[in-house]
């Protein structure tokens, strides 16, 4: 396929990338995220030890040449546990957000485009789901499906799709009255074609912004579920699990709990920074200013 650099969509993309590239914070955040994703993917190969392997004669070791970050209460290597823990935080959250997009986008689009009773019904369903704090719904599901990373992830997706659907619905509502939609109708395009070929491309950026913004909250929520014991199950090394286990030894060995939290802050902060910049870069009132700055 030939890329037309002058087409409006391509120009918008290039301008957005340009504005993002001008922000040092945003670029640094992207580098940080890439780094953590690399760790998550490569963790089985780069971890010096098996993260669940216990060394009972070497409990609570301080950092040394064998264990670079020391060991925990079971003599497991902290570095390996933290590296492998990145898997859950980075990849499971990505999966959750992916599911919310896949489920939320078509529902929001159909709801907004058809309007009327379908819309009313779908929006009331999202109202009901949104009237549970996400975590309580997640707890219920964890109870029904059994504890574990998959039910925790499923639960968060079931809550998350609603906000995605609402955003897409909002865009579709504001677009469907425009002239190009009317033109498409006149030349005889089907509703399906109009919705998915004409209107939906306008949803891509709002959806991306929402997805990036969601990543942070999903990471925190997943870790929270693991922390209270319904997410990732010990001895698997999720960051939330590590924080929870370290809590009992906080007085003597505070770093066991502090370090995974700091890493989580770094990742979530990076997502938030990218999200903020992306939102500004796509705001028609701000983008010119930012591109010229």
């Amino acid at each position: 396929m030939k890329i037309d650099r002058e087409s409006p969509r391509m120009r918008e993309l290039l301008l957005t990338l340009y504005v993002i590239r001008k922000s040092k914070i945003a670029v640094a955040s992207l580098v940080i995220l890439a780094f953590f994703f690399a760790i998550a993917v490569l963790s089985p190969w780069i971890s010096p030890f098996d993260p669940t392997e216990t060394h009972t004669s070497e409990l609570f070791q301080p950092p040394n040449s064998k264990y670079l970050l020391g060991t925990d209460h079971l003599g497991r290597d902290n570095l390996s546990r933290i590296l492998c823990g990145a898997r859950y935080s980075m990849l499971a959250s990505l999966l959750v957000v992916f599911v919310t997009v896949i489920v939320g986008m078509p529902i929001g689009a159909v709801s907004g485009y058809l309007g009327g009773k379908v819309d009313e019904a779908l929006m009331r369903i999202t109202d009901i789901i949104l009237s549970f704090p996400g975590i309580t719904l997640a707890l219920l599901l964890a109870y029904i499906l059994g504890r574990g990373i998959y039910s925790a992830a499923l639960a968060l997706s079931l809550v998350g799709w609603t906000s995605m659907a609402r955003i897409v619905r909002g865009v579709v509502l504001s677009e469907k009255g425009k002239d190009y939609v009317l033109a498409a109708k006149i030349i005889g395009k089907s509703n399906f074609q109009i919705l998915f070929n004409e209107i939906m491309p306008n949803c891509i950026y709002p959806v991306i912004i929402q997805a990036v913004m969601m990543m942070g909250t999903v990471i925190i929520s997943l870790a929270g579920l693991s922390f209270i014991g319904v997410g990732v199950q010990p001895p698997e090394p999720d960051w939330g699990v590590i924080i929870s286990e370290g809590r009992q030894y906080i007085l003597e060995y505070p770093w066991l709990s502090i370090l995974p939290g700091l890493l989580m802050i770094t990742v979530v902060l990076a997502y938030n920074m990218v999200g903020d910049r992306l939102r500004d870069a796509l705001d028609p009132r701000l983008r010119g200013e930012l591109a010229a700055a």
Binding site: Y143, F227, M273
Partner: protein, 338 residues
């Protein structure tokens, strides 16, 4: 005329949502892969077919599903939320003791968050790009980015273990809790005239409330800042400046009330978020509220308690959203007219 129509419509939808929540929890009881009769009677009880039959009939589990549904809704409306299969007592009694604990914590956290966030948001906007602005923005965004349960652990570590402030729980173990009148320790202790209890519970509520409020504080201060900046760009502010009004009057009389609409819109959501957040924070601080109850219920496989608590939390959440929406129509004249 139009306003009352709007309010009626909003209240109607509020009830509809609560009804939907009831239906959803009912459906969940039907899909849970567990026989409630077996949970209640235990292995011994299940050996007695008469007992099984009796309980099944008593709970109308032999009736068609729609009849079960009306039975369930009727029970909930009468405050019958079932019996905990763990403590064997009615769940509503367990909740009656824990509900005020969670609400007290959430309200306190909410007040801390608003008292910190709104002034800092305004300062940030007024002194844009000055050190105050940078500091408050960095603190807000770092606060939002950290998991609340982790902040709780950090606060406990610093204030309790290092500075000896006040530890977990609602009150020191050496003290007797105040008699339950409202269930809010801060109010009950004052009603009893016990100042030492009041101070002690105030110390105890501070850290969990701070933890619970971290996210809301960061979010609200960012929101207030951007709303204020938006308002300060408006023409009527320029007009006020040209009239030669003092900056103080412009900011506090003209700009502030319009800038506050945005944070107010989110207050219901934030308060509801605190109910969800309390699950984690109460676990960290062993605060005996609904959040801790729900976690205990999960590990005790106590599903009547789990469902009832979820239902109560969802209802509080919907009602707080409803109230904020109504408050919003009163505050923002555009909603009233439009």
């Amino acid at each position: 005329m139009k306003l009352s129509y709007y309010i009626m419509r909003r209240i109607f939808f509020g009830f509809l949502v609560i009804f939907g929540v009831l239906t959803l929890t009912f459906l969940i009881t039907k899909v849970i892969p567990q026989d409630p009769v077996a949970v209640w009677l235990g292995i011994e009880g299940m050996r007695d077919p008469n007992l099984v039959k009796q309980v099944t009939e008593q709970w109308k589990l032999d009736r068609p599903i729609w009849e079960q549904y009306f039975y369930y809704v009727g029970n909930v409306l009468r405050g019958e939320l079932g019996r905990s299969s763990w403590s064997r007592g009615p769940v509503i009694e367990d909740l009656a003791a824990r509900f005020p604990a969670t609400v007290e914590l959430s309200i306190f956290a909410f007040l801390i968050a608003m008292c910190v966030a709104i002034p800092t948001g305004i300062l940030s906007a007024v002194y844009r790009d000055k050190p105050v602005d940078h500091a408050s923005r960095i603190i807000s965004v770092v606060g939002i980015s950290g998991p609340p349960f982790w902040w709780g652990i950090i606060f406990l570590y610093i204030f309790y273990f290092q500075l000896g402030f006040a530890g977990s729980g609602r009150i020191s173990e050496s003290m007797t809790p105040p008699m339950q009148v409202t269930g809010f320790y801060l109010i009950d202790s004052l009603l009893e005239g016990r100042l030492d209890t009041f101070v002690d519970s105030l110390k105890h509520i501070f850290l969990p409330a701070l933890t619970l409020g971290v996210g809301a504080t960061g979010f609200t201060s960012r929101l207030t800042r951007s709303a204020m900046l938006e308002v300060l760009r408006k023409d009527y502010i320029k007009t006020a400046r040209m009239k030669g009004l003092r900056e103080r009057v412009i900011i506090y009389r003209h700009a502030l009330r319009n800038a506050l609409i945005a944070p107010i819109t989110y207050m219901g959501l934030l308060f509801g978020g605190m109910l969800g957040g309390s699950v984690l924070v109460e676990t960290v601080f062993t605060w005996r509220g609904m959040g801790q109850y729900i976690v205990t219920a999960i590990f005790a496989a106590d599903y009547p308690a789990l469902l009832a608590t979820t239902l109560v939390i969802a209802i509080i959440y919907s009602v707080s959203n409803l109230l904020v929406d109504l408050l919003y129509t009163v505050i923002d004249p555009r909603v009233r007219v439009g």
